[in-house]
Symmetry: C2
Subunit: 456 residues, 2 copies
């Protein structure tokens, strides 16, 4: 390994330049992007993977943006096969006026590289690619079998990814999936994410009278859609922060005492957290710590609301309609479709007959959890410790990464999530950046990880 | 009186033509209007009032649109003096595509005249002017003293009217104010409005974290501004439809048993009312009938709400801010400023410390009530019966007409509200119209009313 680590250090300046080249391509995947740039980015990857010695490098067309695939499978059948997943597409750049440099002209300041996609996910994808290169250049081979899958629609919800996996089960067969698209818990604290929350997202539409009415002439005996919607939302949680939907918690796996002790060790600083968000007080489900509330317990939040007059001053109407977006985050073993049914039934039950209510189930995603005592996870912990010289922490992520469930469902493979980003690197925001210290340590971590996995 | 009634009938076709001329002037008072047309309309009135024989006809400039004044005060000191109030400005015409004729090119269909301002308030103003003309032409005099005050800013909240009254108390001195700017309870049912509700209008602004946050990463321990706002709104009324603000009902005068019996006689058809609005069920404050809830009891309604994501599909954010417009309608003897204080204190009390709340008091207006046993009201009832040959009803109006309080406050004069419009004449909406039957009966009613008042 010393030679590999030496190669990484010797070639790191070039690795940074190559990451810059990758970042210069504006591979925005949503409608504000240019499809030609998506293809240019996929082709850049193909050429690069060819050059470092990957095999079977190819581009798979989908109904949307192409998926880049490559592999190196000569390590032998007794060695494990891992599937590394990443994405080359990036978020839009708006509001562009808040960027200090052009989002596609990378700039290095304070040993951080600033560009759209730096931490999410081009920088992290490159930790694997540069690690693979280092093996192939130094040892002329890998110690395990690697399949690399880099998609171009992650930022728009991977609409064509499940079909691709289903159609290519044999090609993608693997022992573990490795994903580097999450953040470290904090600086200098390498982290392994072992659980993700699921999601069920709804729109509630309330309709009252058939037109907007004068609130003077009609106020007093009508169900007002905004008032009713507010009452419904107010009844979705109780004063203990518990979600009141009948049966909502039935399938929730309680956090074990052992896990609670582990989560309690995470360096969560409540005062810093509140100060950073400028809030006076936290609340949440009674009986759980903020870390547990943020990652290991289900939640319910309104994501948007609208109805009636939103302009300046006073307009005295009873509006005909009001709507809200409401989402719940789920934990194992909750099923988003079952939750959708419970949610719909409950809202219909509590909605008064003075108005009509309609509930749209917009989106659902399963929660996931990986046992932390598997060989693959233990190997990841060892690798991170070797690279960072710090014992890594095991964290849950409050958000959702739906592809983790797709890999489990279609390939029966658990995912190992080792992220090299930092929480304050502005993923999805202006001035996105990636710390070059973590780029370097990330490449080393990947190399140690391949080494650990090979000797399982 | 027979000669006067005869004159009205003989000249009615001309009266309709003159109303058409008045309606042709697009005297829109808000920013979408043309100030030149406002002046043209005021001057049209001046010329017309001069021609029928009114005296001291003049235009008072204000900081906004001019006020037209005229009087005829030769009836003698032993005769009452009435101040007739109306307005010559009209609402904007949008959405103009829904009009069947151009809003300022009057068309007569089914004995109704269609144009902006037909019922609100030019047609009703003309009932008085044409009645005065009839007296002056037939008898060469009036039997009582009349002051006529026609303003040009009613549709924008009469921002300069109070100053004008305060500055001209002597000029405006009177025994009663007569206003024809309301609607009859239904067709062929002449109505006298004796009570108006007041208003207090608020905007509630809730601020949580200092920026929009990812609802996955941050959901679970933060006060979500939309959820909190919804909870606040949900706590403003209880399950009996009672407003829960501490002290809110302290100054409310309960409806007397006698008045409740009168209100119960009004031909309110609950099923027709619900069908017309397409609602399945009414509710409101328990213990009161819909008519009472609509006019004689205070109410609380959200007039608008907004926050977070309002677009298509799903966006998983915890928004930084959410706001709502909330108004309460008040009844005697509630004081809007006191209610504003109670409202503000209550909302602050129930708002959790997880967010910041700010309450703007946008607008307040006092409720008003006139005893129905006064001479002026009894005279109005007699006059309406003579014109319509139907016993008039006494109604409360759920909306607010703030000038009624200004006349009481500064001139110590009660207002008599006799309206000749109908509820379905589309005031403020496309295809506004005024039934010519009520134009004719209105002119006759005014004439009988002057006659009744003169013999008090």
């Amino acid at each position: 390994m010393d030679k590999i680590i030496g190669y990484i250090e010797e070639n790191f300046d070039r690795f940074v330049n190559e990451l810059s080249d990758f970042l210069r391509i504006p591979s925005i995947s949503n409608d504000s992007g240019d499809k030609n740039e998506i293809y240019r980015c996929a082709n850049w990857l193909v050429e690069h993977l060819d050059r470092i010695g990957m095999q079977n490098v190819c581009v798979f067309e989908t109904n949307g943006h192409p998926i880049v695939y490559a592999d190196w499978l000569n390590a032998g059948r007794d060695k494990p096969t891992i599937l590394i997943y990443g994405h080359y597409d990036v978020q839009p750049v708006d509001p562009i006026e808040l960027w200090e440099n052009h989002p596609f002209e990378p700039v290095i300041k304070n040993n951080k590289i600033f560009a759209r996609g730096a931490t999410d996910d081009k920088g992290q994808v490159m930790t694997h690619i540069k690690s693979i290169e280092s093996y192939l250049k130094v040892k002329n081979k890998l110690d395990l079998n690697i399949k690399l899958l880099i998609e171009g629609e992650e930022e728009i919800g991977s609409p064509n990814f499940e079909v691709f996996i289903k159609d290519n089960k044999k090609l993608l067969e693997c022992d573990y999936v490795v994903i580097s698209d999450t953040a470290m818990y904090k600086e200098d604290l390498p982290s392994i994410c072992y659980a993700l929350r699921g999601l069920a997202y709804f729109q509630i539409n309330v309709t009252g009278p058939n037109r907007d009415l004068h609130s003077g002439s009609y106020g007093g005996c009508l169900g007002n859609p905004i008032n009713v919607l507010a009452e419904i939302i107010g009844k979705l949680k109780d004063e203990n922060g518990r979600i009141t939907i009948d049966g909502f918690y039935d399938d929730v796996i309680e956090i074990s005492q052992e896990e609670r002790q582990e989560l309690a060790k995470l360096p969560f600083n409540k005062n810093e957290f509140m100060k950073e968000l400028n809030v006076n007080e936290l609340n949440g489900e009674i009986g759980y710590s903020p870390v547990e509330q943020l990652t290991a317990r289900p939640t319910l939040d309104c994501n948007g609301i609208w109805g009636g007059y939103q302009g300046k001053g006073a307009k005295t109407i009873i509006p005909s309609k009001a709507s809200a977006k409401v989402s719940v985050r789920l934990v194992s073993n909750q099923n988003p479709d079952k939750i959708a049914e419970l949610f719909t039934n409950y809202v219909k039950k509590i909605c008064p007959n003075t108005v009509n209510v309609d509930i749209e189930y917009l989106h659902g995603g399963y929660p996931s959890i990986t046992p932390i005592n598997t060989k693959a996870i233990r190997a990841a912990a060892k690798a991170l410790k070797r690279a960072y010289n710090v014992e890594p922490v095991f964290v849950r992520e409050g958000g959702s990464i739906p592809i983790v469930n797709l890999f489990k469902k279609h390939l029966n493979a658990d995912s190992v999530l080792i992220g090299f980003g930092l929480p304050n690197e502005n993923a999805h925001s202006p001035n996105e950046n990636f710390d070059l210290k973590n780029y370097l340590n990330g490449i080393k971590s990947c190399s140690f990880y391949y080494n650990e996995l090979a000797s399982l």
